[in-house]
């Protein structure tokens, strides 16, 4: 399982898992990505692949919304508020950006939680985990907003 290092460190507390997965309704950025904002744009480094990514302002905005607590539609609404795009365009951009983030593994992949010894806790977690597969399934065109 990747992308939730803080949660993984505290797996002994079932409530943490439960709350985390209940709260996770949208795409979640990987916690080990090193990211810096520079004049509204983003530059990030993936320590696993040693790749560097540059995100323009809108992609950086979307990335920062990928905290697992916002569905793409929520992110699109925020994007439309902050940038000069209508809601439909915003949703298109969000899907495209998330698709690109997923392709370059900047956000978590669909989660496969290993079974614990009772074989129940993790199963519950999977059931409760709305890892937004619809987001990851979206066949959006390549976004202009993220470049590697």
């Amino acid at each position: 399982m990747r992308g939730l290092p803080d949660m993984q460190q505290d797996t002994s507390t079932a409530a943490v898992w439960e709350n985390a997965f209940v709260d996770a309704v949208g795409p979640l950025r990987r916690g080990d990505i090193v990211a810096h904002e520079l004049d509204g744009e983003g530059i990030m480094y993936d320590p696993r692949s040693a790749d560097t990514h540059r995100l323009n302002a809108s992609a950086w905005f979307i990335w920062n919304c990928c905290d697992g607590r916002h569905a793409p539609s929520d992110i699109a609404a925020r994007l439309a508020d902050s940038f000069d795009v209508n809601p439909a365009q915003a949703l298109h951009h969000v899907h495209a950006a998330i698709d690109q983030f997923h392709k370059v593994l900047l956000i978590t992949e669909p989660r496969v939680v290993p079974l614990d010894t009772q074989g129940q806790g993790s199963a519950r977690a999977i059931n409760r985990h709305p890892a937004a597969p619809s987001t990851l399934r979206s066949g959006s065109p390549r976004p202009e907003s993220a470049s590697a």
Binding site: V34, E41, Y45
Partner: protein, 309 residues
């Protein structure tokens, strides 16, 4: 025995140098090579080692039925190059030292860039080989700029200052007319440098008494791209774009990994960033010189105080 082809250690001599933040020692029985190297770095020669140094040894290997005649150029006892021709030795010695600089200063970030200084403000010219860094740096030195380094911009990870390593500028033969147009000439004979053909060296310390700079903060980053015949022009570059580009010219990225991005991000936060299409050298120097004069005048607390030649 001809010392040129002697492998007898008793024929070897060593000269030590402290070139800015880099200490290096050259050991060889090839006296002509020692003299050529000393002609470039006599101002930096030291009597004894006073710290970690890069040890370069050039050992002539005798011709045999199994091996062609060659010179082993080793760095810290590892053979790195085996040039066959005498004219290749000095460039390979320079190359061998460069090869080892990131290991000598592992905490620093090493960017593929020329670095200069105007009134205590650092200007770095990052770019891949062939982008025109060295030729542009040579041209700007004739405008009163001070020299920090060619090929390397060595960035201190704590102060984010660019550190001095005033190695000789290596100018490729096709650029000889350009540097002649600004009144410069390479020092001594020309040398063969691998696939790059003939090169010549310019030691900025020899140009004038105050040609070398001390460590200074980076204020301007200019990415040159030489385009023959092009009218020189500048384009302002977003800091994220600059950081992205710097990441790709970082020699020791894999050693630093995560901290490298933090150092680069901090570096560009304090700098104005530009992309330069460079053409004719004199016109390009005019453009860059004017940019720097205006930029530093804007940054200066006392406008008009900035004085450059």
């Amino acid at each position: 025995m001809n010392p040129l082809f002697s492998s007898d250690p008793s024929h070897e001599f060593t000269r030590r140098y402290r070139i800015g933040v880099v200490r290096a020692a050259l050991t060889t029985p090839v006296s002509a090579l020692l003299d050529e190297h000393a002609a470039l770095y006599a101002d930096f020669e030291t009597a004894a080692s006073d710290g970690p140094e890069i040890q370069v040894r050039v050992s002539p290997q005798p011709f045999s039925l199994r091996h062609r005649r060659r010179f082993d150029v080793s760095v810290n006892r590892r053979v790195q190059f085996t040039p066959a021709r005498r004219a290749e030795l000095l460039p390979y010695v320079e190359w061998a030292i460069n090869w080892e600089v990131p290991r000598l200063l592992p905490r620093c970030l090493h960017l593929h860039a020329s670095a200069l200084c105007v009134n205590g403000h650092g200007i770095i010219l990052p770019g891949a080989s062939g982008s025109g860094k060295s030729t542009l740096a040579a041209g700007l030195l004739t405008r009163g700029w001070q020299y920090l380094c060619d090929e390397f911009a060595i960035i201190d990870p704590h102060t984010f200052h660019v550190l001095p390593y005033p190695r000789a500028l290596c100018i490729k033969k096709p650029s000889f007319p350009a540097i002649a147009s600004v009144g410069l000439a390479t020092h001594g004979r020309h040398h063969l440098k691998g696939t790059k053909g003939y090169v010549g060296f310019i030691q900025p310390a020899r140009l004038r008494s105050n040609a070398l700079a001390s460590a200074c903060p980076v204020r301007i980053i200019v990415f040159p791209r030489y385009t023959p015949g092009a009218a020189p022009r500048l384009r302002s570059v977003h800091r994220a774009e600059a950081a992205f580009a710097l990441h790709h010219v970082c020699f020791n990225l894999l050693d630093h990994r995560t901290p490298a991005l933090e150092i680069i991000a901090q570096l560009v936060r304090g700098a104005d960033c530009y992309e330069l299409v460079s053409g004719e050298l004199r016109a390009t120097c005019d453009l860059v010189h004017d940019l720097v004069r205006r930029t530093l005048a804007t940054h200066s607390s006392a406008p008009g105080r900035v004085e450059v030649a």
